[in-house]
Symmetry: C2
Subunit: 321 residues, 2 copies
Amino acid sequence: MGEFDLIARYFTRPVRRSPLGVGDDCALLQPAAGMQLAVSTDLLVEGRHFLSTVDAGRLGHKSLAVNLSDLAACGARPLAFTLSLSLPQVDEAWLAGFAAGLFALADAHQCELVGGDTTRGPLCINITVFGEVPAGAALLRSGARPGDDLWVSGTLGDARLALEAFRGTVSLPQPMFESARLRLEQPEPRVALGCALRGIATSAIDLSDGLLGDLGHVLARSGAGATVETAAVTPLLAATRSGLQLPLEQLQALVLAGGDDYELAFTAPADQRAAVEAAAAQAGTPVTRIGRIDAEPGLRLLDAQGRALERRFASFDHFAT
Amino acid sequence: MGEFDLIARYFTRPVRRSPLGVGDDCALLQPAAGMQLAVSTDLLVEGRHFLSTVDAGRLGHKSLAVNLSDLAACGARPLAFTLSLSLPQVDEAWLAGFAAGLFALADAHQCELVGGDTTRGPLCINITVFGEVPAGAALLRSGARPGDDLWVSGTLGDARLALEAFRGTVSLPQPMFESARLRLEQPEPRVALGCALRGIATSAIDLSDGLLGDLGHVLARSGAGATVETAAVTPLLAATRSGLQLPLEQLQALVLAGGDDYELAFTAPADQRAAVEAAAAQAGTPVTRIGRIDAEPGLRLLDAQGRALERRFASFDHFAT
C-alpha cells in the first residue's frame, strides 16, 4: 500500500465543523466570531514516550489525549487536529488499531482530523490540536495570585507506578497493574473540567512532567511561590485506595514527581471554593485542594504534621535523563 | 543543557501578531475578522527528507519552507508556526545554526514561532504552519476547469539533479552542483505568487513529489484531465541554462518527476493570461505556461512535435520507494 492509499484508507474522513479537511495543500479552519484559536503540539517518539509493545489503539488514544490535555489546561474546547506519522513499515492491523483508538477519542470530543503528513521512518507521532476559547478567557500559567488555593484534578502517580512495574522496580497484583497501566497508556484529558473552570480558575497547567515540576512553571510565570500539603496529595495515588502499601518516600515521589498524569493543576481565589466544586461536579471530575499560592517565591512542601519537608523531587526533562 | 533551557535559549522569541506565544500549555491565535485560518503540517525525517550531512541552517530554512510552500499553494499569508523537534543529542552549534536558518526565513515572511515540543530521539522535525486567507478565497486543488491554462512557477528538476549528484548518478561542474544543491537544501516558497494569484488562478498545488504526480492530485480533485507540452517544461531545468547537456529522457524525468521543487503548479482561465503575468511580475516570480486542462480524464504528454509521449514517470511515494 502506498502513502496516498494509506491516508485515504485510514486517515481521511469528512469534516463537519471545518471548511476544508484532509486532501488539499492546507486545511481551513474558521473560528467563530469572538473566539481565539488555542494551539498545542506534542511529539511522541517510540521508546521515549511509549513502549514498543503498547497496544496500537491505546497509542492512538494517547497521542491525541496528551494534546487535548493542553487544550483543557487553557479552557479551550477541541475543534480539530493534524496528524504527522512516521512509520517503519505499513502494518495494516497496527494502522487500523491506531486509527480506531485515535478516532474514538476524537469523536468523543468532536475534534476532527483536518490534515497531516505520512512518511517512512522511525515510529513517531506528532499531533497539533486546535481549540476555541472566547477572546481573553483562556486559562494561563501566569495568573496565580498569593492567597489562591491550589487544586489538582483526579488521581496522581498511577501512570508512573505502571512504568515502574514495567521496569520491575515495583511488583503489583495483576488487576492493580492493569488499572495503573490504563492510566499510563490511555489517559483521559480533562477537557470538560478545563472549560468549566473558565472565569473561576486564575491559572492552570496540565500535569505531564510531574506535579512539582509543572507547578514550578506556573510559579515562574506568575512570579509567586506555593505551599503544598503532601498529606493531601499522597492519597491521590489510586492504587493506595485499592490497598497498595508503599514506603512514604516512594509514595511521595510517585504523586509529586511521577509524570504522565494528564490531570490539571489549577489555582482559584479562596472565595471561589464553592464555584470550583460546582465546576468539578458539572464536569464529573473530582478535584482536591492541596495547598496555596504564596507571595514568597519558592515551593514549600509540608508533611502530615505541617513541618517543612526537605526532600527534593526531580521533574522530568527529556535531555537530563 | 536541559529541555527548558534549550527552548528558552533557541526557540523563545516575543510574539507580535499572536496573543500568546511559546511557554504556556497552548499558544493563542486571533485571525482577523472575515479570515479563515489555513493549516498545514510537514514531518521531515533524517535520511529520508534530508541528508545527515546537510548544513543546520539550511535544514532550519527548509523545514519551514516546505510548510510555507503549502500556504503559498492556498494563497494564504503566513501568520505563525509550531515546531516539534526530536534530537539525538544537544549540540549547541547545530541548534544555533538551525535556529538561525529557521528564523531568517520566518522573519522574511513575518511568520512567528508560537509553540512547540522538544524531545530526545531520532532527528526529526515537524512544523505546523498557520496562514490567513479571506473566507472563500483559498486556492484549492479542486478548481481546475477544462480549457484552463496550466502554469508552473520558477524552475523544475534542479533539486533532484542535486540529489542525483549526491548519489553519484550524474556528475556536475562544482558551480552547477552548488546551485542545484541550494535548490534542494534551501527552497524558496512562492508565498508572494500564491497570494497574488487569489481571484485569478482556479486551482493550485505546490510541487513536492514531482510535477506529474502532484498535477495528478489536482486532476483527481477537479475531475478533469490535462495535456502537458513537455517541450515547454524541459527548459525549466536551471542547469540546462548554464550549459548542462543531458539525454532527453533523463531531462524529462528530472523536470516532470524530480520532486522537491517547491514551485507552484496552477491553472487559470485562458482569458486571464495577462492577469497571471501581472501577478507573477508583482511577485517577482517567473511563470511558464506548460499546457491545458481537458475535459477528458487522464494526463497526456506531448513531445516537441506535438506527438503523444508514451513514457510513464513515477511520482514520489514514501512507502513505495
